[in-house]
Symmetry: C2
Subunit: 331 residues, 2 copies
Amino acid sequence: MRAQHHAEKIHRGGQVKIWTREEIEARFDMERAVRMVEEGFIAYSRKKVQVPPIQNFRFDSVGGECCVKSAYVQGAETFAVKVSSGFYNNAELGLSSNSGLIVLFSARTGKPVALLQDEGWLTSVRTAIAGQLAARVLAPREVHGIGIIGTGLQARLQLEYLKTVTACRDVHVWEPVAQLHTRFAADMSVHGFNVRVHETAESVAADANLIVTATPSREALLRSAWVRDGTHITAVGADGPGKQELDPAIVGRAGVVVVDSIEQCSKYGEVSHALSAGLIQARQLIELGSVLAAGGRGRDDSNATQITIADLTGVAVQDAQIADSVVSEVS
Amino acid sequence: MRAQHHAEKIHRGGQVKIWTREEIEARFDMERAVRMVEEGFIAYSRKKVQVPPIQNFRFDSVGGECCVKSAYVQGAETFAVKVSSGFYNNAELGLSSNSGLIVLFSARTGKPVALLQDEGWLTSVRTAIAGQLAARVLAPREVHGIGIIGTGLQARLQLEYLKTVTACRDVHVWEPVAQLHTRFAADMSVHGFNVRVHETAESVAADANLIVTATPSREALLRSAWVRDGTHITAVGADGPGKQELDPAIVGRAGVVVVDSIEQCSKYGEVSHALSAGLIQARQLIELGSVLAAGGRGRDDSNATQITIADLTGVAVQDAQIADSVVSEVS
């Protein structure tokens, strides 16, 4: 019934439905989005998704970058083209750094069916969902402290989305750009977290066994010597060439290295640095979708010293699925 | 003044302006569009355009294909992301085969500024403009007959856009799909052309020295033996892998081979077949933008037997420029 209803709407060939950010947030269903992003990762790792090469632009004179990510999950009603950008001088103009939109097209007729003017919000959320899924299969059973590197929007969302996978509320945070951390502790305490701001990443690593790095860094912020045995680290910042948050030695030391996309993470992402340094072999990489498809855990819970890594570069299938979760009919 | 005015509008960070197809056609200025597409080709050949790899989708079960082409001309106010599709079973649903839209984003802030719901119309027109520009520099001085292979929308537009580059109005047409040619002659006579429908492409080639091929063919339609000395041929159909309209021997025989993009035409397009057959060398290829930049002719008018070829695969800079020609302020 759902497919038929949906098809009729598309086949009318009518106007594109425009979704404002407010409408998207009002309609957004977190559980449904998590489920669909998870299904998307599984389909991706089963090679059931068309994901053409990412398009990248750079606007060096204004500190801007933009990427176009597109995906079609075989059998879905729609395919997605997502444009997202970060223009890091925008604050001087009183504008947000991140922008973006997603256009959904009918996979039966090619006609555009929905324009989601989410301003990059869905990209931020689907990245946090990926962090949640990675932590679900890789975080230690007993988390005694959550470490967060970075205090921007993505750092906040990652922390919020960890609430369903761990009961731990003790958070240790360090922000590489000193003036940015001011409101993080207060804001996150509203969500029930006890936040301690640290002076160094080393000190964060000493107090945490579940760490998320969420910065636009272009150099390693976390040294291997600082990371305790038994820690899981999710790195979400290295979403393009030249970006890096982790000492490659951490990746080399990890017993399990999960990636959102073997293809992308081999080219950039934390894994690419470890691969080119010869610290790991490509055959060691496991895709998040493969771990999720297996239905079990991604780490060896009997091995208390095992380090695990999730390297998340952002795959277009996440965008297609989260947009579809907002737009499609709930049956 | 113009740039400042434009910048103020963008910097407000307000809503995206939505352009319907009717608004686009009403605002469209052919001369301005031709000038801007020409400038785009020149900038492209001077390496002043960011053109990331084209994204392609295939929807085999419904005879559909879609591509995403994006471009930023260095120094422009905006950059463009264009999605265009052809779903060749749409007629059964009472829908047009072609669809598409273009989104323009501010190159200063990354914010979307305009959505052009042109339904693929601008893609069709910018392709016809490329044909006009190619004919301007490559068509013989004396055209005694125009040959058109194909009778679809693109064939019609190519013919219309040739009116400003030749006084010839005698048209010879052949359509590979027999039932499609019915209204072409009547429709084109309204534009002042005398159209004769032929039974074969061979017969068209015998009566024409300016030929345009505009079909979705996947095999050669025009044999070298049929093409008269002194003819110019513009081929616009081979816009993706597997497509072909010309016998590669024609390309090998040509004294001048102009391409819209050396990179794209080396991978697909008519030229790719001739390259892989060893009939031409990559160094013989000249980009249309380079010919236009030189300001002169692309053919040797003193050589009455010279064959010239323009292989047009469609470059994203055309999309960026034609969209900008509609949207930007006329100073």
